[in-house]
Assembly symmetry: C2
Homo-oligomer: 324 residues x 2
């Protein structure tokens, strides 16, 4: 079993060494640019890990791992246009550095490049891998559309929210692990269990992210506390609070969601106060635990030696408790 | 050999019967909408024709033909955003009817759907088909980027222009025919020759389009004469004229390219006058003939019975002379 740090270094090197044609400049430069911004590159490393887990040759998983990284960055490039985001990983976004047309078209070209990299798998598993990849891509598009539609709605249900984060972020983690497993020679059953592990872990991770935004240690978390509150982002916490709040608490939430001029500290304190009174943190942690349990349950069913299972369990534990 | 009209009816029915998931509404409704706008649907019919040409089962080519139609409409959806086009086939464009974000994301989802349809080919030809499809998609993205970059330039060379139309429009025709041929059981050599036939025919067709804009019979052509001239579009004619013009003609072109307020009839007449003095129509027709000859030359080398070759020759003849 290779260590994740080693796999991470392999895949980071491969991303850094990627080159694209010089012409047309405005099609390919933005691709190199967004890939150079770094990011954690956790997903491609996990694809190698999944392959290694079943005794596969990780060299054969590098191009598919690049496919996942290129695909993920394609979705970021298009998401940034839609969100009118000025910055990505602290650097100017493609649609700001060039323009929206360049970002649309370079994103399209990235998706084709991602497909080409994924096609490098052996013939024997080509269809299985591409089917997972295409289903994953559909899920990510659906999740992004649902997320955008939430901005116009104040009656989002918890189940709708959970479905959205499953599609928007968790299926990519699940799909990444499943593709790695298939390349590594896993049985269909084990590949599907690893998918389930990844999807449930991804949902738990996103719920943790929602909790950390309000209750995280800002130094460990690395983000401004209450960023989601300030932007009225429909997180698990806000949706649950809107569901449970009555009387003064409901009025207070309505007020802070609609007021356009405010003192940031005051808004974060007031909304957090509502959350505290409604015990929202506990609800969110329970939900997170439910998905974590489902992930570990899937993991327990995979046909793996105990040390490999332990390795994955530890990876998941680290992911889920690191930032409080 | 099935008639093109019959194949066209088959594929049009298949397009009309396409359904997509109901949810998320704003992801899938725009896909159904743009596909319902019609268009000639010539490309998917040609994919069936190419399959039939080599004795293949056209039923097996229907889903790949849908892939081509969905892919083509994905590029139109994104191109319309980039061009800020209000109308497509006389109907309101997706980014105007919904908004640009919806058009970006629905376009992305369409590309995934196109890939899924193309994946329906048999395992034995899956990689060959997908490789052609991906190369085609890359070409179309490159062509669109080069076309956009031309808007900012006044020194475009004829060879750059020919390369642009090859990528932006001709490789899709070539790729469509090649995929149909592979499905139909053609040898690699014959599939490649049919690709060459399609690409060269596509370039000839685009050059004809450039000529018809200025010299076509408006009743047969179905478009306003001089539309390209009015929008300063860099066509073969304009690029060649800019290359050849001296003295008064050069000044006149510069004037009409830069003036923002003008009488349309006057501008079309003046620019056409320059074209006439420089014999631009002949240059363009010679170029068109060169590509038509290359197409027929490729056709002559394909291992086909004489009646099938004649059928394709007639198809190409019809495409290239219909609208004067």
């Amino acid at each position: 079993m290779k260590q994740l740090t080693e796999l991470h270094a392999m895949v980071s090197k491969a991303v850094d060494e990627l080159t694209f044609p010089a012409y047309p400049t405005d099609l390919y430069e933005p691709i190199s640019y967004i890939l150079s911004l770094g990011g954690k590159r956790l997903r491609p490393a996990l694809l190698l890990m999944a392959c290694d887990l079943f005794g596969g040759d990780v060299e054969k998983a590098i191009e598919p791992a690049l496919a996942i990284e290129v695909f993920h960055n394609f979705t970021l490039m298009h998401d940034d246009i839609m969100d009118k985001a000025p910055l990505r990983r602290g650097k100017i976004t493609v649609h700001e550095k060039w323009n929206a047309n360049v970002a649309i078209l370079s994103g399209d070209a990235m998706m084709v490049e991602a497909n080409k990299f994924m096609m490098k798998v052996d013939d024997a598993i080509l269809r299985r891998v591409m089917d997972v990849f295409n289903e994953t891509a559909t899920g990510v598009c659906e999740g992004q559309q649902i997320d955008m539609s939430f901005e116009q709605r104040n009656n989002v249900l918890i189940d709708e929210y959970l479905d959205m984060i499953r599609l928007k972020t968790a299926v990519l983690l699940g799909g990444t692990l499943k593709i790695g497993a298939i390349i590594g020679g896993a049985t269909s059953t084990d590949a599907q269990l690893l998918y389930s592990f990844g999807v449930n872990l991804g949902i738990a991770f996103q719920l943790q992210d929602d909790i950390l935004d309000v209750y995280g240690d800002p130094e460990k978390f690395g983000k401004q506390v209450g960023g989601d509150i300030l932007s009225n982002k429909k997180t698990y916490l806000l949706i649950k609070a809107l569901e449970l709040a009555n009387g003064d608490d409901a009025n207070m939430l309505d007020h802070w969601l609609s007021v356009e001029q405010f003192n940031a500290t005051e808004k974060v304190a007031a909304v957090t106060g509502v959350y505290d009174r409604l015990d929202i943190r506990n609800y969110a942690e329970d939900a997170m635990q439910t998905y974590a349990d489902a992930a570990f349950n899937a993991l327990d069913q995979i046909d793996l030696s105990e040390d490999r299972r332990q390795y994955l369990r530890q990876f998941a534990d680290n992911l889920l408790v690191r930032e409080y």
